[in-house]
Symmetry: D2
């Protein structure tokens, strides 16, 4: 397993294909440092005796100890540990830990490539390609990003009905040495600081849409790949350092007629498996949210209880009610993921078919519980912000800049007037408000509300997953029986 | 294990201490038949090969096969099965199955009587009394009710501050042959059709309030016990029978200076254990709700999907959204209970002390998860009704009476105008609407909304349990560390 | 103007066409008495000096003083008074006052019949027919009901696409002496105790659906009209009388090939005016809700504040929050109606055309404000019930029957244990809980939740009215201008 | 009346007492330009024939035509026009128009200074001072800011119980030539670009707290006044200019032992009038919100409908539902203000006294309606953002920077992949998304959510105002009468 430093050294060897504010930049750009530090924490954790048990696993390919973010889940215990690792790391970094995209994508492709080969009766070698790539990925302890969301064009039209056929990424040519793909994957968080980008489809596909059923992996700087980067960092600090300086960076990952060698192609043309791959990545990723959203909930709870303490209102009834709400959201999200882990199996719901064994035996979390949990936490994002706002009052909106806080004319006056709870030193109160403002009144915070709602699929997608997969008929039959109706 | 018929025969031997509409009635009164049938279903289930595995257990006292409603949970598997049994039986009867009060009370008293004896260094014999009573209870396969909620008088004043000291049930005299208790336990569902009533405290108590720290069991017709009964049944049917005719009956259980023999006393005077007993019963009972509320959710989902089908709107977008909401509420409630079961231990949170081993080794569900689940399902009751209302339209509010539906002048006209979905025979539609009306527009349905909110403790009580038991400090520390604050 | 007694005498002269529980009944049936008393209150109010100013008007036809429920609104002051009269009378009767259906229908037909004649260039005499009927109606101080909602069959199919063409009421024959109509209007509240039934269409119609564009008036017992009645009364009292014994009765009003003489026909075949008539009645009726819903809100507020006082929790913070919510809902509903009254004009939004002058000069409330108010109050119904439930606790669900409260064994015990607030005599507390139970845990209360959501059109209908009538384009243009976009 | 240019020239003459990022700055600092432009719009509007009728008034002091923001409301028509002016100007600038603070403060002080003199039986000359100042203010067409919110220290302790008595601004010395005040007013929006700062108390006061009952006016650069400024601007544009470049700036306004000459003192020591002054300013300001929040609602509606159009989903059912919600919130807020204007009187609710005539005859909006409207719009802020988020999808969170959009490598690719609705030129779509991002994913947008919730008093303050002022007793009596209870 690599160290954080080795990871950074690796990034710095990558070619210069990132664009930011009109310039090409290197992966050592200062606005990417927070993102690099976040991913870096996953390397540190794997060597930290306190949590290495959560953060490492034994490769089913090589028997080596590997970072859990490179692992294919072999049993329910792996699912539980992935959930708990995600929660633990997000608590440490302060928000999204970023490396889950890779592990979720590789678990999806692992199963889909196996089934596609099986469906093709051995005429394709997708799963072999994938396992070879996976061994390389595990051995080198690489960071994977997953590029799923397409540009999409007109959103109510399917890929084959778009005016621009490239609105969804597709194969435009098959060559002897590989396939040529064209398209743009958007909102790809942490792609700028990933070693490898895993690409897979974004939706169900029809038989005519085989060209969109493509999955593969390329290095982050692969020829023809351009990333337009949008970092989301908190305001820079000069005097009062944060404990961890979280940040993220999203990319538009443009595939401008990119050649992908065949040995890195894991699916190409099987429309039905393309749709399942989209669904399955979403499922694994919603399961990841059962780790990260409770961690964000932990932070929101800490903010809410501390802001009440700083304001001196911690004993008011409505504070208790709000804290209970925050805990309830976070722990219901966790419980849903826990149940999804416990009920995990090498099985999947296939639209139009039902639940059946799927993949080479690797474990898949229960879909209903993964979805109801994500649905709740996604739907609660703005309400959680509202709770913070109500408990905080106006402070985060107008809090003075660090430079003013230390201006010599102002410091004694601002210290005097900022002080609220007399039992907490004013400097601690100041550090608290600055951090609160990061979450509540910054552009990055606002962006992460969008991520909190839409990441892993918007609530409407989870509702579709839930209603299409849940056994509603059996509930109709319960009612028919109770009502004395004939059951058919 | 008894048959339903033996249970009924037992009830009919009890003395005549029920009051209903100003008269004394027997337990064979026709308005109690639905309640008897509901409890009766728990006897039938224990003999039904389909679900006997869920509904029976092996007594840790005798090694006999017993009804699970008489069982002390020995491991997490017992907790899982109790949750699943409750869901399965509520699906069959159509609402609350009623017998959970007894099993929850006996599990609470089992642990508390043990700890009280331990605290008293063996000077009391509560636990021995209890085990002897429990063996009798299990051998005779009795139905237990739990009388917890007191009359309470002025609700913001504690027991010892009330003008009338009997506002909470208390010991008024200790005699050689037993204790004399006075008070009134209210809203005691199914007490009228129970063999035994387990009594325990309703809240935390101060050292001055030892007289209120009392737990014991008496037969339902014990001398001096008067029950004022309020049955909640659906409208009687003459032609179109329901598949199961659900009903419940609540009692005011009045203890008018009742002598309880010492061998039936399980706690008497230990104020701290009294408070824990209240808390622990509530915990077990909230865990029961993780079985029954998902079952009610199953029925609501069946109603919602069928009403959409009958109305011919099942493909409208908002229907999908509403069905997803109903599933999400029910399955989050289930997942919370599942997690509480899995994380169950012979441990309890003691206010002011923290989590510690508690009781003789029997299993207690995790309190946080039991509470967050119950909180969600309690808070969703009226919203669920609103969903039904929106999907149904006005039909349930004005649906004709059965007698009109079969009146010969009206039948052809009403059949013509009631018919909606042409693919469902109109008689089936009629049976459906009559059943829907039971749930949506009846007094019993409205009463069960109150039970759904307040049963097992009102949402505000769960919020208090959650915020007082959750480790908020560790979340403050997460934030302090991230903010760069000093952690103390 | 008639007295209540004259109104009752009139009802008793009507023919026996009501069906109830399989029997034909007279309008003097005891289960209709509460409904008769409610309508009766509108006669008493018109003679009560305290509110006769609100409850009477001067006929624009005859100059006579008439009951305002028979009046065509002549200016914004009339709109304000109709709103305030409705609120005042609902406060007195305790819920819906019932006679608004008539005044809303006649105001709609007044305008539509005028415009239809104008569209027909004078070839029809609808408006003359209507004015003649109206003069008769005003002179005899009659009670009108409005039959709008059709049986509807498959709800996503329009009238002309139904398998049964009678799913919506229609003209099946035109004769020399009148038209023959067939169909069934459902959920027609207070039709059983009305003198006249005004019939009008329920939705927008296509050119092929002219037969469904029909409006007319018939006496409540007109030949061929059958009413299947469903009364909604509170539990009968024997000892503790209510101050006003509210009740309502809904009818399925079946038109079994009914001949309507031409002079009572106000629209027949003009499909576009049929749709406008449906819309316009709904608009007037939603304006009525800006009077009745605030009155129901007043009662809910009284219940909520009194239940807090009885429970002794009136100073708790969450009580204040809940009371504020109840006031906010009611007064926003009132303010919306007030604004709709103030901005009233002889103008209407015509789908596909925009706002234009409509009708003979009579006043129409502003549609946007009438709709947003109704939307809020409809969407709040179940939340209001939840507030009552949370404040009350379990009492209303299990409160003893009147007969038990006065049973001599039980009375001293129940008085003792029911007593909460020591400053309120227990008998007053008992009367309070019995009344609270009427609202919270009765079938009639549950039915009126359905009425509260769907009456005057379901929330989804109001949303359609709002989005189709609001000037969204101008708001797009505001954004385009601010964003620096080109405005077209 | 001044021009915008004269206003700017005036600002530039003010002394240098603004601190920003550790430096002293002038009022011509580039980060204040958006704020100056916003206030500038109020000068332009008064000369714009399209809306000058709304934006000007006739001074009751001089008979001159003045800017309405300097006017004392003389009748209900003035209240209506102030509401409509506010809505119109916020639509033009794109958010808060800023100058309402001044007009709301001067209307409050006008009434309070009059009543304080009356209470003092003419021994004080507050009202005369105020009128003289007002004439100067009107003649010079000055911009007023209102400094109300104090630093507050421990928030559950009143001013006289604070460890630091300066936690609330107070009089520390009375001199022959004036009073010396000390304290800090926080979150004072647009104070940095105002000519005059009106200071008044923030809460109810006890007799011991007379030093806190102080109201006065000082120029923005008055000696001893220091402003710590926090501008909230949208991201700077280089190529694609906004139509209006909105921004605001908040100040901590520190009064570091400031001498206020007696002729500028309008209240000094009268604790009861101090509390009323706080209440009355809040009332006028909540009435202002009935203008600005509907305007913000107009913009949100424009954003929501345009984003649906750009995304090509404008015909989906859930879009209609969300648009209806946005309209409902905005128009209920407007209707509440409209009703508050119509029912306005020279009367006020005095805590402990009830409603009575107040002030010299100037008009005060109805408090209940002003509060319920503000309560709704404040409580809806985060839900409105959630609606935008759901309709937009991830675009605003990761949208490329302007420099990337025009980078020559990227432009053709980004134009290709950003294009959604084929009927809107991609450059228009880009301008739209950039503007949407301003509102949805910027620090300034997040800050204005805080303003939207807490400005004019937090929702909890409105709830207190509502429940303390509403006639709840009469509603209890309605219920008592209906329930048959004795009414006392």
């Amino acid at each position: 397993m690599r160290t954080k430093e080795q990871y950074i050294a690796g990034l710095n060897k990558l070619g210069r294909n990132l664009y930011y504010k009109g310039e090409k930049i290197g992966r050592d750009h200062e606005d990417l440092i927070p993102s690099v530090d976040v991913i870096g924490a996953t390397f540190e954790a794997a060597r930290n005796p306190e949590i290495e048990d959560l953060c490492t696993a034994v490769s089913h390919l090589t028997g080596d100890k590997i970072n859990r973010f490179c692992h294919v889940h072999q049993d329910t215990n792996d699912l539980h540990k992935k959930q708990d690792m995600t929660r633990a790391l997000c608590q440490r970094t302060g928000y999204c830990v970023g490396r889950c995209m890779g592990v979720d994508a590789l678990n999806a492709i692992n199963a889909v490539s196996y089934e596609a080969d099986r469906g093709n009766k051995g005429e394709t070698g997708y799963h072999g390609n994938f396992l070879k790539w996976l061994e390389y990925f595990q051995k080198n302890d690489l960071v994977g990003s997953c590029a799923q969301t397409d540009a999409k064009g007109e959103r109510l039209k399917r890929p084959s009905k778009q005016i621009d056929p490239d609105a969804y990424l597709r194969v435009v040519e098959k060559k002897r040495d590989g396939i040529v793909v064209r398209g743009c994957k958007v909102h790809i968080t942490f792609a700028a600081v990933a070693d490898e980008i895993l690409v897979l489809p974004t939706r169900a596909l029809t038989p005519e849409e085989g060209d969109y059923a493509v999955a593969f992996a390329v290095p982050g700087d692969h020829e023809g790949v351009k990333q337009v980067v949008h970092p989301h960092n908190f305001r820079k600090r000069q005097r009062l350092a944060r404990g961890f300086n979280w940040g993220a960076a999203d990319s538009y990952v443009i595939f401008d007629d990119v050649l992908v060698p065949w040995e890195r192609v894991f699916l190409c043309g099987e429309h039905q498996h393309g749709g399942i791959c989209a669904l399955l990545f979403a499922l694994f990723h919603r399961h990841s949210y059962s780790g990260c959203k409770p961690a964000v909930g932990d932070i929101l709870l800490g903010l809410a209880s501390l802001v009440s303490e700083v304001n001196g209102i911690e004993k008011a009834d409505h504070v208790r009610e709000h804290l209970a709400e925050l805990i309830t959201i976070a722990e219901l999200g966790y419980a849903a993921g826990y149940t999804a882990s416990s009920l995990g199996k090498p099985e999947l719901f296939i639209p139009g078919v039902g639940v059946r064994r799927y993949g080479p035996g690797s474990y898949i979390p229960n879909s209903i519980y993964a979805n109801v949990g994500r649905c709740l936490t996604g739907d609660s994002v703005y309400h959680e912000q509202e709770i913070l706002c109500k408990l905080a009052g106006g402070m985060p909106a107008t809090f003075p800049f660090e430079q003013d806080l230390f201006n010599e004319d102002l410091k004694p006056l601002l210290d005097k007037y900022i002080r609220r709870n007399p039992n907490i030193p004013v400097e601690e109160q100041i550090k608290f408000w600055l951090f609160f403002t990061d979450f509540a009144c910054s552009a990055a915070g606002a962006v992460f509300n969008y991520a909190g709602v839409h990441g892993g699929g918007s609530p409407i997608m989870e509702q579709i997953a839930i209603t299409s997969q849940f056994d509603i008929t059996s509930r109709k039959n319960i009612v028919k029986r109770l009502a004395g109706m004939k059951i058919d």
